[in-house]
């Protein structure tokens, strides 16, 4: 499972999901954090209103938390994109 996707990724069809209502296309195996960065959106707004984006990339800092399919506070850097996913940032 872990290695099967990578070698085929060049030819595998892209995964299409939605970030804030805009369609984003990523290579298979991409995380939601990558999709949000591609969309150009910050992942969250800080408690004093600053835009924030992923810092650590490994599930520690929680700057990357977003709402996925209606569930808030999902750690987007540790969740793989799935077709049709609805991602919302704050």
């Amino acid at each position: 499972m872990p290695d099967s996707g990578r070698s085929k990724s060049a030819v595998a069809p892209a995964v299409v999901l939605s970030v804030n209502g805009v369609s984003v296309s990523v290579i298979p195996g991409s995380t939601v954090a990558a999709a949000v960065c591609i969309a150009g959106a910050p992942t969250r707004t800080s408690v004093t209103g600053q835009p924030r984006a992923p810092l650590c990339g490994m599930g520690i800092c929680l700057e990357c938390r977003v709402t996925i399919d209606g569930t808030p506070h999902r750690r987007s850097c540790q969740i793989l994109c799935a077709p049709g996913m609805d991602v919302r940032t704050a």
Binding site: G29, T31, R65, C77
Partner: protein, 422 residues
């Protein structure tokens, strides 16, 4: 599902992979948990080119009977010999006879003006995002901080098409030269370093140099670098900045394992101060992948009761400790870096607590109680190491849940102590 395993391994990086494989080969039932969707940890992260060692180790793991639980995050130990993990479908308790902690390390981040801007990432952080699908081709990147990770990251990013403008190492050249000399005793590391140097060619390499500010309105637009008395501005798309690594010791601390200067204390067989709990890899010392692998193997063999074979590896492991000390010395932080954070610079990103507010306090505990520093979702994992360097505070009092968790995970029935049923 069977929720009892003779050996439960937390963390599927090199140490955890080696531990799980060794224990499973010794005939024990093994569970291997990791909060990422695939094994490999940070250094063998899915999505990049994997060295032959990594491919062989991952193949051996897959061929073993170890049961993978990827995407599972440990949040608590609700009873003796039980850990609770959260996953997509809820939460599950796993019982163990022996536990092996292989939770790895994270980057140390130091606050400077603008470090909270989008596109200012960790060094390993940007590398992880690129491996996870972020397109970097043609993007202008400044890599900064300290440690061998900077070269590894610059090499990976350059291979992916990034334009590496500068690599800024805070340590002085003389100290690095001493470290590189020490590497001669370890040919595989030297070759690895040379390879990355080749890939990252064209980048300017500066020593005694660091970012003093990241600038931009809604995202990073440029970085101000300083070397000695000289300051200059570099327009760029990303700043990848990390100041070496700090251990992920929270789980060990929650379980009551003794820590020694922030690292998990272990004996010759990787056993912690608590019987039946072992620890391997970066939580015991920042020593890189080779040390993590052999520590993991020793822990896996010892946890499975194969003591003669575990003992046979001790001498080889101990021979690597020189590298740990050399790395510690090479990455020692310049005291001038304490001046990077200004009064208004945010230190705690979760609660937006400024440096000037924190300076009024004399301890981590006081700062937490009065400012909420370290009380947000990351629970001090980012600002704790920064506060330790800036103010000399020791982050204390790890409490469950280890990570933010669903209320249903916290209120799930607490299992009975199995010993009471005997």
């Amino acid at each position: 599902m069977n929720t009892h395993f003779q050996v439960v391994v937390i963390g599927a990086g090199p140490a955890g992979i080696a531990a799980a494989t060794a224990a499973a080969r010794a005939g024990h039932t093994v569970a291997l948990l990791d909060d990422n969707p695939a094994p490999g940890g940070q250094i063998w992260r899915h999505g990049g080119h994997l060295p032959a060692t990594a491919q062989a180790r991952l193949a051996a793991l897959r061929a073993s009977s170890a049961v993978p639980f990827y995407g599972w995050r440990v949040i608590d130990h609700p009873a003796p010999q039980v850990i609770r993990a959260e996953h997509d479908a809820g939460c599950t308790d796993l019982d163990y006879d022996r536990l092996i902690i292989a939770t790895g390390a994270r980057e140390r981040f130091l606050p400077f003006p603008g470090w909270t801007l989008p596109n200012v990432c960790g060094a390993g952080g940007l590398d992880a995002l690129v491996r996870a699908g972020l397109p970097i081709a043609g993007k202008r990147v400044v890599v900064a901080g300290t440690g061998p990770l900077l070269f590894a990251v610059a090499g990976h990013l350059a291979a992916a098409g990034a334009k590496i403008l500068a690599i800024c190492e805070q340590a002085p050249l003389a100290r690095l030269a001493g470290f590189a000399g020490g590497l001669l005793t370890s040919p595989s590391r030297l070759l690895q370093g040379a390879g990355f140097g080749f890939t990252a060619r064209g980048a300017r390499f500066h020593t005694s140099c660091w970012p003093v500010a990241a600038q931009g309105t809604t995202r990073l637009e440029s970085v101000i670098l300083r070397k000695g008395s000289r300051e200059w501005t570099v327009p760029c798309d990303y700043l990848a900045c990390g100041f070496h690594l700090v251990p992920n010791a929270e789980l060990a601390e929650l379980l009551g394992c003794r820590l020694d200067d922030g690292f998990v204390a272990t004996d010759d067989l990787q056993q912690t101060s608590i019987e039946d709990i072992y620890c391997a890899g970066e939580p015991t010392s920042i020593g890189g992948v080779d040390l993590a692998l052999i520590e993991g193997e020793i822990a896996g063999l010892a946890a499975a009761g194969n003591l003669p074979q575990a003992r046979s590896l001790i001498a080889r492991r101990n021979s690597m400790h020189g590298f740990v000390h050399a790395l510690d010395r090479a990455c020692a932080l310049d005291p001038q870096l304490r001046q990077l954070a200004r009064q208004e610079t945010i230190v705690c990103r979760c609660e937006d607590v400024e440096c000037g507010v924190l300076r009024a306090h004399d301890s981590w505990r006081s700062a937490k109680l009065h400012t909420r520093c370290g009380m947000g979702p990351c629970q001090g994992r980012v600002c704790g190491a920064a506060a330790e360097f800036l103010f000399g505070w020791t982050a204390t009092s790890v409490r469950p849940p280890l990570f933010p968790a669903l209320v249903s995970s916290l209120t799930a029935a607490i299992p009975q102590d199995p010993k009471e049923n005997v």
